[in-house]
């Protein structure tokens, strides 16, 4: 088996164990940060290996595919693992400033690392049942983080979150059992061959809908996104941020993976569904953002809206569209984590995330205002930041596909996104604070570096990628090409001769 694949996955697991054993000793949280840093190194090594080799695979316990469990990284997986490690490290540093000793004592850093492990596992597995297992790890660890230190509001959000996600899990499992019954295999590369060779194409399409619904729900696609805005604004900022960046993106990843690798047999049926879902997700998401009065809820709905852009890329399905969607994914993960972290700082300054109780941050804490403006303008799609190039690629893809309606929709939603962000900017940062609610910069002082350093780093990433986007564009184009022609993927798993 390949150590390149195992290390990014095992590092957070071992870090979790160490962090749990050392909790309360004062160094547990720094062990978690060190573990995350190490994880980032391993993710970089994996990425390097994937770029050199194309596809990296490994068989767990050395049982050959399709009998054992396959771990596999192509460019798409490699990119996702790298992003997970990157934002994981940023949030781990932030959490050192935000999480108090009580939460650490309860095991915050351990569960946080296991969440990262679950996300990484989902990106690296080449086995559909194993993907289900990582989804469970994700679900239970995210539930743990949601209820930790639970206020009543938090528990309420967490219950909705877990109930709706369990439904998604059950549908996934149903689909999995049925698909195994129909094909006799769980290995994703092997499934591609089995589906291609199946004489029951209608049944495959029916079964694919189980996965579409299960993953779309994880991804927070309309009309399955209710759990997201119900819960993301309730926990601590570090938790919100990592959820915002990664959780729904795992669902998107699973959709991309399964609907390019396995269920690409019936685009005539799936494509219109994806188009409609993309359009409605974009629109309802941004309308939800405009209707909110709580800064963190605005941002939660913006996640939903951005998922629509990603699904649009899958719906169009051309190399350019998938490349644009993957670029958008990279952009969105960085920027969403960043926005939630800044929102956490603003909430800390103002003592509330309800915008009517916030204000005056631009005047009292100009650095925080600047650190908000960078991801805000990035998400708004202003050039030369990353959101702009993502938009250019997606609009280009929609234009090439002759899909004028979607072009118009993307542009209108982009405009509404600008508006929703600038409402936050105007109210929280520009407007004077409400009587007696002056931003308390003194509260920020002791943990200033922990909180602001990761925000600055993520902002810098958005700026640098935006200024020099060529490398990433080339990379996502190659990743999209791999997705659309999975022969190398299948050969790497099954050795070319199944």
């Amino acid at each position: 088996m390949s150590w390149y694949l195992a290390m990014p996955l095992m590092t957070p697991v071992l870090t979790a164990v160490a962090a749990y054993l050392l909790r309360g000793s004062g160094i547990g949280r720094w062990v978690a940060v060190a573990g995350s840093a190490l994880g980032l190194v391993f993710a970089l090594m994996l990425m390097n290996q994937v770029i050199a080799a194309g596809v990296v695979t490994g068989q767990m316990s050395d049982w050959p595919a399709p009998f054992g469990i396959t771990l596999i990284a192509d460019l798409f997986s490699g990119i996702m693992v790298l992003l997970t490690a990157g934002v994981g490290l940023a949030v781990a540093v932030y959490a050192c400033g935000e999480i108090d000793d009580d939460l650490e004592e309860m095991g915050f850093f351990a569960i946080f690392q296991l969440l990262l492990a679950g996300v990484t596992g989902a990106f690296l597995t080449g086995d559909l049942f194993n993907l289900y297992v990582w989804f469970e790890v994700l679900l239970i660890s995210s539930f743990g983080l949601l209820i930790l230190g639970g206020t009543r509001q938090q528990i309420d959000g967490a219950v909705k979150y877990v109930v709706l996600n369990l439904v998604s899990t059950i549908i996934f499992l149903c689909g999995l059992g049925l698909l195994y019954g129909a094909t006799g295999t769980l290995n994703m590369a092997d499934l591609r061959l089995a589906v291609d060779n199946s004489d029951q194409q209608g049944l495959v399409t029916v079964l694919s809908m189980f996965f579409l619904v299960a993953f779309a729900m994880k991804a927070a696609v309309f009309p399955l996104f209710f759990w997201l805005p119900a819960s993301y604004h309730t926990p601590t900022s570090a938790v919100s941020a990592i959820f915002a960046g990664l959780l729904s993106k795992v669902g998107v990843y699973a959709l991309f993976r399964t609907f390019t690798l396995i269920f690409d047999n019936d685009p005539a049926y799936t494509q219109p569904i994806l188009y409609v879902a993309a359009a409605l997700t974009m629109v309802t998401g941004i309308l939800g953002a405009l209707a909110q009065t709580d800064m963190r809820r605005v941002m939660s709905y913006q996640i939903v809206s951005s998922i629509g852009f990603l699904i649009l890329g899958l719906a169009i399905g051309t190399p350019l569209a998938l490349a644009g969607a993957i670029f958008y994914l990279v952009h969105n993960i960085i920027v969403k984590v960043n926005l939630f972290l800044v929102a956490g700082v603003a909430t800390r300054l103002c003592g509330s995330s309800e915008m009517s109780r916030m204000g005056g941050v631009y005047k009292t804490a100009p650095l925080v205002a600047l650190l908000f403006l960078v991801p805000a303008f990035t998400l708004a799609g202003f050039p030369p930041l990353t959101g702009f190039w993502a938009k250019v690629l997606l609009v280009q893809a929609a234009l090439e596909a002759g899909n004028w309606g979607m072009v118009a929709l993307v542009l209108i939603v982009s405009l509404l996104t600008i508006w929703s962000l600038m409402i936050v900017w105007a109210r929280v940062f520009w407007a004077a604070h409400p009587e007696g609610l002056e931003p308390r910069t003194a509260d920020l002082a002791p943990v200033r570096l922990h909180l602001l350093l990761p925000i600055a780093a993520l902002g810098l990433a958005s700026i640098l990628i935006g200024l020099f986007p060529n490398g990433l564009i080339v990379l996502v184009q190659a990743a999209a090409a791999q997705l659309l022609d999975p022969q190398a993927y299948v050969d790497a798993v099954l050795g070319g001769a199944p």
């Binding site: 009998f67 209820i147 709706l164 631009y362 407007a431 060529n470």
Partner: protein, 758 residues
Amino acid sequence: MADHSEHPASFWTAASLLPPLIAAALFAVFTTFLPAVAAGETLRYAWGWIPALGVDFSFVIDGLSLTFSLLISGIGIAVMLFSGRYLAGHPQHGRFSLYLVSFMLAMLGLVLADNLLVLFVFWELTTITSFLLIGFSHGSEVSRRAALQALLVTGAGGLAMLAGFLLIGAETGTFELSALREMGDVLRDSPLYIPILILVLCGAFTKSAQFPFHFWLPNAMAAPTPVSAFLHSATMVKGGVYLLARMHPNLAGTNTWLWTLVIFGAFTTVFASIVALRQNDLKQTLAYTTLMALGALVLFLAAPGGYAVTAAATFLVVHSLYKAALFLTIGCVDHATGTRDARRLGGLARRMPLTALAGGLAALSMAGMVPFIGFIGKELLYKGGLESPASPIIVTGAIFAASALMFAVAGVVALRPFWGSDGKMPLLDRPIREAPLPMLAGPLVLGVLGLYFGLSPHGLQVHVTDPIVGAILGDPDMAKELYLWAGFNLALILSILTFATGVAIYVFQDRIRERIVAAESRLMNFDALWDRLLAAIGTGARVVTDLLQPGIASRYLMAVFTTITLLIGSAILIRGLDIGTVGLSGVDGVHVVVFGLTIAGTLLAVVTNSRIAAITGLGVTGTGVALVFIMFGAPDVAITQILVEMLIVVLFSVAALKLPTLPQRLPFFHRRAHAAVSIALGAIVAGVVIAVTSVPLDLRLTEFFEANSYPEAHGRNIVNVILVDFRAFDTFGEISVVAIAAISAYALLRQRKTKGSQ
């Protein structure tokens, strides 16, 4: 803007001095290109940037971009000197200078870019910096609203324009403007010409505030005066005009282009000059005269004639010079007197003679008086109008009306405040003094330049108008000469008539103003319409969101299950499902009992009102499933199932004792809907299961496990071997799940305990 003269010494700071120095350095650099451009050269500089998208970081210096660059950096010197003194001591002066310099650089990038996407990058950067500058007085709701309005209006246009640019790229295969110049016919003959034109014009018209997108510009006057002078008159709003000039070789030359620009330009110019006369706030007056100028420039970029383009080029320079000077003059007046109200100002020439001189010079050029460059500009406008291929009467008529009104407005702006009666002047606790030198230097120089270029227009023609015409029309020989005295012709007659009409309007201005005010109240107010639009979107957003996200978990579940049912159901309907032959041949009595038990348990759980009964019903169902496992040869799975069922029933029953009774049952309609979805979904899943089981099972995996369990993995119990060896990795994941659940549960319990003890 508040007065900060209590900190006179703080002019000597980096925030005050660096910006004008940067602008001056840039201006000096640009002047070195003048000889080459006058000689007809075009210089291009390019670096590879994003080869994957075919985007070079490329810039071009020709007549058009050099003139704009000189205007931007030159007026930048004046404005930044002014603002260094005007804002000295302001607590956010540093930020202001940063934004202003950033804006200037973005604007220079915009006009110098040779690649459409590079141009767009800078275009949006001017939008962002302009947003921050308009909202500079961020404590005021008016400023914030104006900033957001400008951002959204120009942002919307920008997005449309981006789509237009991407279409151009798709049609021609390039984003390089210098390559596109040669491909005008490709675009004009493309079936996408009209969409491209509309999208690009959306960008240009919003940026240059053409009617009906004009309303954001007067509101943008909420910015500090130097910002208004720089962005909203001399430079940024000309970005749209620049774009029209730059795209002229690619998109102009059709009737669509001609008439669109004529209609929008003519209407904007006349409309704006009428409304300008009506304003009392001198800054607002100047804002509307800016609209007038922008309309005129659009109007003259419509036609490809030599006079029209020469007129546009000349008027561009004329307007930038006098408008920046007037704005800064008004800024000086405001600074000294604390008001900009035309009705109250008067007699300032005695106390502020140099300010009066600067304002007077600029106003004379604005009024088009001999021998100022404004006169030459106006003559050219008339000549261009008379040769317009659209309709000489419309174009010339529009320019006549606008020029006459401008003449009167020039009087309002410069005559009354300085030489009018000072009877209504506000009483101040300090004497009204001449503006300080850094604030005066700019407007004085700009005003004098208007006179100098009028007396000696040849230099301007060689270095500016000829190269611009060359850049736009591709042939500098089409440029017309700039003369102060062009002989006795129709244009001169029109000029004389203009003066006469202008004087009349000035004399009767109060009566005309009343008429305009009366008419205005009956017309559509775009600014109020904007508010209504935003409010409507906001309301719509709330309605949709409340409908979708009422916060009730059962509704969410219903939506989710309905979606599943519809998606899988429609797949079955459209793609069909081969369920083979379903027979009841293998069914015996035991089966009937077990399945009957399972169904009965489910029904009990559904209909009961008691939690205990419901969990019992589910327990029965689970036991039934366990029996099924036994019947079909999986006793180990059955044992697990029974253990789990027992645990769940016991744990849940204990919990249920502490829970409140079930809430009231849902209304009948909801229950029926729930039942319908449940039954449909159940039937669908059953159908799919039957279809799947009718496919012969591929036993490769089972056979492999059977064959290798003992010899290779050394275990006799295949299930165990699968769990701990073949698929040990899954088990590893599941162990993590249990561990996390344990940690979380422990945390939750401890948390409740500590809370309870508090």
